[in-house]
């Protein structure tokens, strides 16, 4: 198989003495959709945030398209990347947060245009055309001039997805994008994500939506206590889990739903 788009090796993250990620090895290939599942506190969010270095790993290595993120090798030693170099790498990685994090002082359109204008150096007219296109795609053409706090949670999350897509990322990270939503709004966000998946986007998705994971994922990764317990195609993880821990988690989730 070709070089993976994301290659994670021996990833460790500690908060004080608490080792939250205990050595994660994971590959994500271009076009692949990976769903991360696991109990609360297992380190899913931390793993995702290490991929774009919102969290600085304590150890291990993350390569994006073959290039290490966060560090550069200089004179045989590895140094921390400059703020500008790191920003340039992050620009190619979209992220969607559980709590949307739209910019409340900007309109929906301005939210989506900010990155292209300030980071990619796009002209305003070009950036606006792109932004309008993306907002149409997520079904929010009527809301371009609205401020985020006038939107429902589901609408806000769709704006957040458009905002990330405006950077033309080669990889999208989703951290429980629907878990802050009222149940009746979950569907509209999942539909947008499903469409994105169909278009071939590479996606790493932390989710508790097991049905979504089962139908969209190429690979499901089950984490517990900062380690990958089991990974494989969704059919196997959900229908025929090999490890007792996975089975316990899945049946607990099933009973909750």
């Amino acid at each position: 198989m070709s070089e993976p788009l994301v290659r994670i090796r021996g990833l460790k993250k500690a908060y004080g003495i608490h080792l939250v990620l205990q050595g994660i090895d994971l590959d994500v290939h271009s076009g692949e959709k990976l769903c991360l599942i696991g109990p609360s506190g297992s380190g899913k969010t931390t793993l995702l945030r290490c991929v774009n270095w919102l969290e600085e790993p304590t150890g291990g290595e993350i390569l994006i398209d073959g290039a290490p993120i966060g560090t550069v090798a200089k004179g045989g030693r590895s140094h921390r990347m400059s703020d500008v170099e790191l920003a340039r790498m992050r620009a190619g990685i979209g992220m969607v947060f559980q709590r949307f994090n739209l910019f409340p002082h900007l309109t929906v359109l301005e939210n989506v245009m900010l990155g292209p204008v300030r980071v990619l150096g796009a002209g305003r007219a070009e950036a606006e055309a792109t932004a309008r296109g993306l907002l149409a795609k997520v079904g929010l053409s009527e809301k371009v001039a609205a401020y985020p706090d006038r939107l429902s949670g589901g609408q806000q999350q769709r704006v957040a997805i458009a905002r990330a897509l405006a950077m033309k990322p080669k990889l999208m990270l989703f951290d429980e994008p629907t878990s802050a939503l009222d149940p009746e709004l979950v569907g509209e966000v999942l539909a947008v994500m499903r469409q994105l998946a169909n278009e071939g986007m590479t996606m790493i998705i932390v989710t508790h939506e097991m049905r979504f994971a089962e139908t969209v994922a190429d690979k499901v990764v089950f984490m517990a206590d900062g380690l990958i317990v089991e990974e494989g195609p969704p059919a196997r993880i959900f229908r025929d889990p090999q490890v007792e821990r996975t089975r316990a988690f899945l049946s607990a989730v099933e009973h909750r739903v």
Binding site: A87, R90, R118, M167
Partner: protein, 225 residues
């Protein structure tokens, strides 16, 4: 002695004109001090939020010094104290410096807490689309912090306007100073201080209005389009 004396319209006009000249000095002093306080206060807030322990320390020491000495004492130290070392500042400049340095310590706290009040997720969302830390601060944190900071800045400005009357102690010819001189000259203390009260009110009410407008300017929905 003045009891029963007739106060002529000419006299009232003279009083008013003199007080309004003083009001000019009050406005100037307030505005100049506010500029010093805002610029320096913002710098101090950035120092306290920086990663450098040295800068943090300097800002903290500054804060403790200026916060814990009465403003009148600060004015005396700057005006009379410095003159002993051959530094002769004009009274208005000394007062501007005094109020400005003092105000900076208060506003630095306003700025600092306004900046800290912006949700952490804002910076992260900015970094995630590829902004640098600096861009995220300038484009996301600052505009949102500004909205939080405007009402307290407005309150501070109104307080400052009133406090500038203390500058009469170092002979700045602002309203309070003019009033004192007029009373000594005409003994019309009731008329004079009524006028002083009205002038202060006429200055601070628009300031409050201005603050409200500025707050609106920085809040969402301004275009409502």
């Amino acid at each position: 002695m003045m009891d029963g004396a007739v106060v002529t319209p000419e006299m009232l006009l003279y009083l008013l004109r003199t007080l309004l000249i003083g009001a000019g000095a009050t406005i100037w002093l307030t505005a100049a001090s506010l500029v010093v306080a805002v610029v320096l206060g913002f710098g101090l807030a950035l120092m306290r939020l920086s990663d450098s322990k040295v800068l943090q320390g300097i800002a903290r020491v500054y804060l403790e010094i200026f916060r814990n000495i009465p403003i009148l004492t600060q004015l005396f130290v700057i005006y009379f104290g410095l003159s002993r070392y051959g530094i002769m500042l004009p009274a208005t400049v000394a007062a501007t410096l005094g109020f400005g340095l003092n105000g900076a310590s208060m506003l630095s706290e306003v700025f600092r807490s306004a900046i800290l009040s912006v949700d952490r997720g804002q910076r992260e969302a900015g970094l995630a689309i590829g902004l640098t830390s600096r861009q995220a601060f300038r484009l996301l944190i600052l505009p949102q912090a500004a909205r939080t900071a405007i009402p307290p800045i407005g309150n501070y400005a109104i307080g400052l306007l009133k406090d500038t009357s203390l500058a009469s102690a170092v002979a700045v010819p602002e309203i309070a100073m003019r009033a004192k001189m007029l009373v000594a000259e005409t003994y019309l203390s009731t008329e004079i201080y009524m006028m002083v009260a009205v002038v202060y009110l006429a200055l601070s009410l628009p300031l409050a209005r201005l603050t409200a407008l500025a707050e609106r300017r920085f809040s969402p929905h301004r275009s409502a389009a």
